[in-house]
């Protein structure tokens, strides 16, 4: 599956598109396997694989010749012969180190929610250190503050809601400053929670006049809640009240009866259930399975002034994301990020979010392993979708060049290169089509998609 399978395997095709041989092209293969980082035993092994592949490719330009050679002498002999005259070990070390970072001591801001898992866990679990960085992860009070501190260069990079870098780059709610997203933090991992008193009002059509909290105006939470309400015939601008409330204050507000519910990032949803003030109406996964949630963002300026530091940071985040995507690591991660220095929440709550076995607040225990998942690839089609929603709800006025903005902010090409270097299997394309509540989104036709919505803000 991975391009890192053993290069000394005679049955493996090193150059043609599809690695597993079941698909005609690499693109098809990628579509077939879920977007997921392949588990790799260890960093060194993976890099060794990359280097060995390159060497074998150079020695045997004809793939057939390589296979024949391997079949006749056997993999171990080939490896021994190869390492005789080529210092595989040294080459691997050199490769893994890449360029020395211009700046080693970095500050990365985060908001204490499970979306930030890769950013946070990379500190206690040593992913930053592995890539030669000394990173302080700094907890921040809210999205506006994290935006301002990153713009002010107090932070070198930060955890942001996936639409925020787009909004900042476009100058929505801030001065236009070019920002970029090298990696998505998490996919899924949000939920609609209602106050316990509404447990019989499960049909959104009954929600007229209710008050909902969202974490920020430029958030997937906002767009998903609006989308969900609109699909059920509720106009989010006139029929209900949406309030921007920092995640940490949502549970307290729900308990105080200031709001009827919220679409929040986890662990906030689970915390409301844990404290007995609400129940899980719906996981955001049920609106759009695989939707992006939060992103890892940095300013263009940082990327140009410290490209190696930025690359090392991205590698650390991608590495951490790959680690977090594996179910067997989730319990360990929950314990690592629970202390007051990081998320500051009960371990039980984080475990329920990360393992996907959770109390639903109505007396049942549910299991959904994909409740939150981690996949770093910054699909540009995600950006295009967010831009359509920004336009739909009047945040963007006038025309927008969807593709240009998406490609400028979501660094799919760079991340693909980096992931390939790291021995991961990034998807071949940067755009993919997906369905939100059964409605297919074609990234090539954003205007048509937008025109298909009945409920939208009159412009």
């Amino acid at each position: 599956m991975s391009i890192f399978d053993n290069p000394f395997d005679p049955d493996r095709n090193l150059r043609a598109g599809c690695a597993c041989g079941q698909h005609q092209s690499a693109a098809e293969h990628e579509q077939a396997i879920a977007l997921r980082c392949d588990p790799v035993e260890s960093e060194e092994k993976r890099y060794e694989g990359v280097v060995a592949s390159a060497v074998m490719r150079a020695m045997f330009p004809q793939d057939a010749a390589r296979r024949a050679f391997l079949k006749s002498v056997g993999a171990s002999t080939a490896l021994a012969a190869l390492s005789q005259f080529f210092p595989l070990q040294t080459a691997t070390e050199v490769f893994a180190q890449a360029g020395a970072p211009e700046k080693k001591d970095l500050k990365v801001g985060f908001i204490p929610i499970t979306c930030a898992t890769p950013i946070i866990m990379a500190a206690p679990l040593g992913f930053y250190a592995k890539h030669g960085l000394n990173v302080d992860v700094v907890k921040t009070a809210g999205w506006a503050v994290i935006r301002d501190k990153t713009i002010n260069k107090e932070y070198d990079a930060a955890h942001m809601l996936a639409p925020m870098p787009l909004a900042i780059s476009l100058g929505l709610g801030a001065n236009a400053i070019p920002f970029a997203v090298p990696a998505i933090e998490n996919i899924n991992g949000q939920g609609i929670v209602l106050a316990t008193k509404h447990k019989d009002k499960r049909d959104p059509k009954d929600w007229k006049g209710m008050k909902f909290a969202i974490p920020f105006d430029y958030s997937m939470h906002n767009y998903l809640l609006r989308y969900y309400l609109a699909e059920h015939g509720i106009d989010p601008d006139t029929d209900v009240q949406l309030r921007s409330v920092p995640p940490s204050e949502m549970v307290a507000n729900l308990r105080a009866d200031n709001i009827d519910g919220f679409l929040a990032p986890d662990n906030i949803c689970q915390r409301a259930i844990y404290d007995g003030v609400g129940f899980m109406h719906l996981l955001s996964k049920e609106i759009w399975d695989g939707h992006p949630c939060c992103s890892f963002a940095a300013s263009r300026e940082f990327i140009t002034t410290a490209p190696n530091s930025f690359a090392a940071l991205t590698r650390a985040i991608v590495d951490a994301t790959a680690y977090a995507s594996k179910a067997e690591n989730r319990k360990q991660i929950a314990e690592a990020i629970a202390p007051a220095n990081y998320i500051n929440a009960p371990v039980t709550v984080l475990e329920q979010v990360l393992t996907g076995t959770y109390a639903d607040g109505l007396g049942g225990v549910k299991t959904d392993e994909k409740r939150v998942d981690f996949d770093p690839f910054p699909w540009q089609s995600f950006a295009v979708w967010m831009l359509t929603q920004m336009k739909r709800w009047g945040q963007i006025k006038g025309d927008v060049d969807y593709k240009a903005v998406a490609e400028q902010v979501y660094l799919a090409t760079d991340t693909r290169k980096l992931m390939t270097e790291m021995g991961l299997a990034p998807p071949a394309g940067s755009y993919k089509s997906f369905a939100v509540m059964g409605k297919t989104f074609d990234p090539a036709k954003p205007e048509d998609y937008l025109a298909g919505f009945k409920i939208r803000k009159a412009s």
Binding site: K139, A141, K153, P339, N341, N344
Partner: protein, 280 residues
Amino acid sequence: MTTTSLRLRAGLVSIVLLAAFLGVWHLAVRSTAPVATMSPEYAKLMGLTATQGKSAMPGPVDVAAKLWEHVRRPFYDNGPNDKGLGIQLGYSIARVGTGYLLAVLVAIPLGFLIGMSPLLSQALDPFIQLLKPISPLAWMPLALYTIKDSSISAIFVIFICSIWPMLLNTVFGVASVRKEWINVARTLEVGTIRRAFTVILPAAAPTILTGMRISIGIAWLVIVAAEMLVGGTGIGYFVWNEWNNLSITNVIIAILLIGIVGMLLDQILARFTRMVTFPE
């Protein structure tokens, strides 16, 4: 004799009030709400509020136990986002101190000038009147945007909120020095500078210190809010971080400490005021 007995009786009443308060608090949070029956598997995933009907509000015993934990290790440092209460208070006091001292350095000389010159006093009055009632936190976004550094912004907010009471009191103190004293100084041909330091300053000192005392109180009020906003370090950040974890116990402890430190700061200034007060 009567004063000691009054003090004794007042102390006694204080203790009774405290005991009554703690007793009511203890009883109020002890009551448990009815609990819905749930499967043990489900209960394991839920918090105590849901499983045992425990009140979300901690009792005095919980708070005392937690406080003891904090008092025993006030200076621990578990990384950038988790430091002991002693360190957090230290950061807050340092911020307040810096902003406040800067304000003293600006407000008192400026107040002197304004107080001694009726022209300046009238010319600057509208500006001061306009700027004085602005909530210090309203400056925060502007400060963050222009200064581009959150810790300096916090200090700036302290500076801007503590400058007004001092400035106004200095102006008032200087302007209302008794005319006879100034005239006596004039008759004795004392120079302006010397007159300011030997006659006006001692005469206005009690009023100036009263202004400083009001300012330190305001500065301490504001720092908590400012730190909740910018985060990072300080007692305000501690409150926010514990609120984030919905740990009301720690929030109550922080409130208690904020009160104690505020009281100490006020007492220090009160002592200074007494030192410069003179009988007329």
